[in-house]
Amino acid sequence: MNFKLTLGIAAFSAALALSACDSKTETTASEITSAAPVTEEKLASDQTYIYRQLDEITSFDPQLIEDVDGSIVGRDLFEGLVNQDENGSIVPGVAESWEISENNTKFVFKLRDSAKWSNGNPVTAHDFVYAWQRLADPEFASPYSWFMEIMYVENAGEIIAGEKAPETLGAVAVDDLTLEVKLSQSLPYFVKMLSHTSTFPVPKDVVETLGKDWTKPGSLVGNGAYVLEEHVVNERSVRVRNENYWDNENTVIDKVIALVINDENQAYNRFKAGEVHKTDIPAGQFKRVMQENPDETFSMPQLCSYYYLFNTTRAPFDNPDVRKALAYSIDRAVIADQILAAGQTGAYFFTPPKTDGFVAPEVDWSKKSQAELDAEARELLAKAGYGVDNPLKLSILYNTSEDHKKIAIAISQMWKTKLGVETTLENQEWKTYLDTRRLPDYDVARAGWCGDYNEASTFLTLLMSDNDLNDSKWKSTKYDELLTSATVMSDPNVNYTLAEQMLADAMPIAPIYHYAEDIAISKNLKGWPFNNIEQNMYSKDMYLVE
């Protein structure tokens, strides 16, 4: 059954002739994704890709998917207007091309006429309109309906609030293959947001005929490279090639199996036993695993930041000097390189440096040595009236987890030895912790944030005064203005840099580190999007070698 494919150096990424797979003959093809030259790679006869999934996904319905694992499945079963390539850049999906006009408020998408649903029907602009209206419809009550609002699609906010009918949404099918979208305000990164699963089309007739059951295996009709074959809750989901997918002939992987394995050590054992091709490296074991198996162990930066929130409604954390003193005296190198030791990097600003287009700002404190920062921290805290005679007392709130605990202990020690701060640690179960944070009923709280899309605003808008997610309750009209005006700028980075500088001055949050994702990938699996910071994997872009 083996057939040889001599894989050459990448010449172009999209169209290539792996269609020869069917004919079982020797063929020369361009390497799909990896930029490194690869010679004489033999495609595996069994193209079944198996990966570990931490938890059961919440839904197969694109407008209901909320979790990262669910989005992975969603991107295989459905296809939006655009996809991401291995670098995370936008490439055409169902949309062949698009025109942007009226200062980033009007977008016209031309759909490819070869795009089909898995039941053979053509994918039309009407399907997108239906899906987008569905996402905003209060009766459907999607937990991601707010995504339509932050995309600024005309009337989205009013529809969600129940003030306007879903049909008034600013997305219109001009004809079967033309989708016109109007935004209520300029949004330069609008197209980027369209690789999000909640914007994917759904087949109206199937959804309305089958109701809630339309996502069951056998019933689900999608327009992605794969169709759902089997689903056993908390055990597995299986997807197989969609013969009607427009780019099916360039797809190599025949079958994708997601195995739900809760325990990360167990998952790694099964990876070692060859039962899965991809899994996560168990926490705290990265160094050892890297030594044991360097060829299959990877650490990649993630679009996520770990930070401590200061409750700015509570004295003395309403004083920027106190906040700065606490933030300065955290030795980020100790936390990133010694405690976590798995590719994380110390953070001096909120937005991860690898975010697309983001230019890391020149914040003063990031350039100083830890000794200088410590000295400055002592001065600042003394200025605020705290010292050896009058020690600052605070509690750190975190959700129950070994890693959060280790970090909290380390930071409380740093504060104790450097500033004489007396810290108590308080851990709470996840949902209780969220509740406490939101109230806000804490002094200092651990927090983490992962970007919804690859653009700095997904981080920075979090600290805007009217943002419900702003748990530090810090308010600055100047900061709000910077971010509001950024949406109409041709280069919003100027404002993002200013915003980060404002954060460094006011320090409503203390950035601690930027996340890294540590994964084990079988040496037989090729095409993993290592350079896509969102790690958005498309099974259709990968392949297995012998």
């Binding site: 938890d55 059961e56 919440t58 839904s59 197969f60 319905d61 209901l64 909320e66 209060p138 009766e139 009550a141 999607s142 937990p143 309906s145 707010w146 609002e149 969600i160 609030a161 129940g162 809630k212 996502t215 069951k216 056993v232 809750v233 908390n234 055990e235 597995r236 195995l259 739900v260 394995i261 809760n262 325990d263 050590n265 167990q266 054992n269 099964r270 070692k272 036993a273 039962e275 179960e429 996840w430 949902k431 209780t432 969220l434 509740d435 406490t436 939101r438 927090a447 983490g448 944030w449 919804d452 419900d468 997610l469």
Partner: protein
């Protein structure tokens, strides 16, 4: 006897009702809700979702609706987390899995546990007795979250005989490790209880009389000693059986079996109210049912208990 059974069943009903009401209230008093997450959804969106699931209604109404749904249509509601699924579907998918490996674990634990317990008692203080006893103690103190990875290390990673997890519709090679991991500590307890109870019986007067009468050894053991020796074992088996067939979060976590045990913990953490209630009611009903059964069995073996 019938009167006794009737009385026991009558007590079971209010117990179950109390369980439902109590769990419902406790569950709702925990902070946070099913739709809270690190990225909280805007209030307007949250209001829409809560309306859809009826969470905007007062608590007593929610409870009445919930109980009403169960009584009239046997409908345990939709899962708040797994939005494509209803609780009935989740339980219908997961319970057979748990039942399968739980039942096999039970048979494994009882058959081997009782056998080695009896064997050890009959050869008291021999090396066989000591070795079975030490095995039993090790089996009992090794929790299944140690047992499970240990089994995988030996049978999957080292020997490569059995898969390290999964279910695949219940193929035998996928059942062995979960059943053994689940059954071992029960097996050890059963062996120890059987041994000590058997020893006690063997030293009692009526066995001495039987021996004096010159009854054959086999008759003494199987006809006269075994039945009374089983009493403490049976009282242990009731809850043990329920424990095994309602699944174990450890087994489901380690072996990805897709059983119901995982729902029990996850639904509590996710505040997936309807799933949590569903599995609580299932577990509660089974526990009550089997303790009633054990009582009846007990009464049948030992008439003293009936009165």
């Amino acid at each position: 006897m019938l009167n006794f059974i009737f009385r026991r069943l009558l007590i079971a009903v209010p117990t179950l009702i109390f369980l439902v009401v109590f769990s419902f209230l406790i569950m709702h008093s925990a902070p946070g809700g099913p739709f809270d997450s690190e990225k909280p959804i805007p209030p307007a969106v949250k209001a829409n979702i809560e309306k859809k699931y009826g969470l905007d209604q007062p608590l007593y109404k929610q409870m009445l609706n919930y109980i009403g749904g169960i009584v009239t249509e046997f409908d345990f509601g939709p899962s708040f987390r797994y939005k494509d699924r209803t609780v009935n579907e989740l339980i219908a998918d997961g319970f057979p899995v748990t039942l399968t490996y739980g039942f096999i674990a039970f048979v494994f634990a009882v058959s081997i546990g009782v056998s080695i317990g009896v064997y050890a008692a009959l050869h008291q203080n021999s090396w066989l007795d000591y070795s079975t006893l030490s095995f039993a103690i090790v089996g009992q103190i090794l929790p299944n979250f140690v047992m499970a990875p240990l089994l995988v290390l030996i049978f999957t990673n080292t020997l490569g005989w059995l898969p390290g997890g999964g279910w695949e519709g219940g193929k035998i090679q996928f059942i062995i490790l979960p059943a053994v991991a689940l059954g071992t500590s029960y097996l050890a307890s059963i062996a120890r209880i059987t041994r000590s109870s058997m020893l006690e019986v063997l030293h009692s007067n009526f066995i001495r009389t039987a021996k004096a009468k010159g009854l054959p050894y086999k008759t003494i053991i199987f006809k006269h000693a075994l039945k009374p020796a089983m009493l403490p074992v049976i009282s242990y088996l009731g809850p043990a059986f329920v424990g095994m067939i309602t699944g174990s979060v450890i087994i489901d976590t380690f072996f990805s079996t897709g059983g119901i045990g995982l729902h029990f913990v996850n639904s509590a953490l996710n505040r997936d109210y309807s799933v949590l209630m569903g599995v609580t009611i299932l577990l509660g009903t089974l526990t009550i049912l089997f303790s009633t059964l054990v009582d009846i069995l007990y009464a049948w073996i030992d008439p003293k208990i009936r009165y």
